[in-house]
Symmetry: C2
Subunit: 211 residues, 2 copies
Amino acid sequence: MPPYDTKTRILDGAEKLFAREGFHNTSLRAITSLAEANLASVNYHFGSKDALLQAVIERRLLPLNQIRETKIREVLARASEENTPPTADSLLCAFIEPTLEFSNSSPGAKDFISLVGRSLSDPDETVRNCFLTLVLPTFQLLFKGLCDALPQLSPTILLTRLQFIMGTMSHVMCMGTLSALNNPALPPPLDQNTLIQQLLKYALAGLEAPE
Amino acid sequence: MPPYDTKTRILDGAEKLFAREGFHNTSLRAITSLAEANLASVNYHFGSKDALLQAVIERRLLPLNQIRETKIREVLARASEENTPPTADSLLCAFIEPTLEFSNSSPGAKDFISLVGRSLSDPDETVRNCFLTLVLPTFQLLFKGLCDALPQLSPTILLTRLQFIMGTMSHVMCMGTLSALNNPALPPPLDQNTLIQQLLKYALAGLEAPE
DNA sequence: GTCTATACGATGATAGAC
DNA sequence: GTCTATCATCGTATAGAC
């Protein structure tokens, strides 16, 4: 691996291996060997394997959520300017679309996306909380916006459906590296751009369904 | 643990621990100590830890899928009797509702459901394939029925949306044992029955959205 | 401050005695 | 069928070199 600093080399190696092999199936020895670093340097720089995962996720998710929040705030500002409620479509778009652009921005980002997709349903609470804590502010912003956009729906129902959408998203994000349903009896899968477009349409219809 | 046979005691213990602690965080020693069996008996009866997981999943998923398939075939038969296409609503219902009844049928079943929810997005391909192979026949039956129910949608789009629904379902199934989004700023979560009802409504709206 | 070498307890797996 | 003994590998901790 190129001669940038050890900490970054470890982060890059861990991101790749965690996403491809899973957190628990990736040994620190595999990471340090890929990153050309010493085994003990992980504990020196990050403290533990759990903390390394947290660092891997934070490095990319914080900027991504910042983009999402900016876009959501833009939608809210435009709506308040025109004195109309924001549309659910534009809000959902502001949350989902940056994921796609981000995923195409670098090779490591694609690995990262599927890693995040999995983190949401990881049995280890440490892993889940690491992810949930980071998205909660963005999630709440989106939720408040949607309450204005769809006042005919109760907040409880809205929150439930928003969680459904998170489930759908995390599943789609995982599927990036999955070769799962390639069955000859079934039609071939869509490319990633159309997939995200379809996801938006599906999620919006489910969100707006009458109560 | 009661004196039924070792194999079953191991299956029960593994089911509970896999679901609660996750597959990789559960040691064979923890399972055998809970099942009051010897460490080596796992490898004797099942061959490996992976194979044990497969056995745990198969034991419950095969009967569950049989119920699902029976219900789906009933819907298809009724429709063909009346010479009308089946409704997407009744098909989706036949697939999703048995999950709920099954989950309430025994304490072990509830653990099992969240275990299955996770298996779908497990980074380990062995784990995923173990699950996917078992649902594929049921999935294909459902898919064919939906092609008749919603002829205005192309099979590719239909399959994509069906995968979205699987993602949503697996997320909901996980959430059973998750204490994730309990935030004071957000409304409290729904009970499981209403949750499934809402899931059905959400999934149906997403499935039927215009193309 | 960074990094290395090395050691420790726990894990999944297996071979062979009973 | 069951158990004991043993093995390689895992995450982690620490002492000390640069």
